[in-house]
């Protein structure tokens, strides 16, 4: 693997890393590396695209960010509140709601063990259409 190891215990504190973290936190819903990069560029930052990719990947590996695949296959990142939860994402406007569905966890665990599966990936995201967009 390259120099930027995912999940490294103590990453160095750089201007770029700070800017990237700041940008991701500022973005409301999930943002792709390119979106983060665009935002930084518009803010006058000269951070390179590769650095954004590497940093987001590292932060996700370290648990600092959540990452999902959006329907287009791109990787989207987002700062998450602590604790386990899922996201309900509007397919049209991108509005995101964090939802906790305690019963879902049990259900999934139960269903999985019934079939002899373990370590289920819980990165489950739901894409739908919010009322605002549905009526528009």
């Amino acid at each position: 693997m390259t120099s930027t190891d995912l999940g490294r215990p103590n990453p160095r504190q750089t201007r770029q890393r700070a800017e990237i973290r700041h940008a991701v936190e500022a973005l409301a819903s999930f943002a792709t590396a390119q979106e983060v990069h665009d935002r930084l560029r518009h803010e006058g930052s000269g951070v390179g695209l590769a650095t954004v990719y590497r940093t987001l990947q590292a932060m996700a590996g370290g648990g600092e960010l959540d990452s999902i695949r959006n329907p287009d296959g791109q990787i989207a990142y987002r700062t998450c509140s602590p604790g386990h939860h899922h996201h309900l994402i509007c397919r049209t406007c991108g509005r995101t709601v964090e939802v906790t569905v305690p019963q879902l966890e049990q259900l999934v665990r139960g269903m999985a063990s019934d079939h002899g599966f373990a370590r289920i990936d819980h990165e489950v995201e739901f894409f739908g259409v919010c009322t605002t967009c549905a009526t528009a």
Copy 2:
């Protein structure tokens, strides 16, 4: 859009389309376009990769196939048994189990409407590790 319109009502019946359908049905778990293409090649078929992509896309658009994004971001297709269900996929060996979780449907629907969301995308797939692979 190109000639191959997705979800066209009555697609033409061609040798390629038949071979592709056959190949997808033969593949146990979800298969990517490239995997389908590989299989066809090994069977001696000269179907082009682009045709496989176009055809799978068309069949998925027509509801004939299910398509999901695997963790690597690739599009995987699979023939589905009728009725609503989800898939439990082993991240290691690819073994797939179709599961129906009736309670999940209610849960999701309820949660969604609580937040004013509709038309929830139910293409939920669970990736985990099956016992065979976990003990290996």
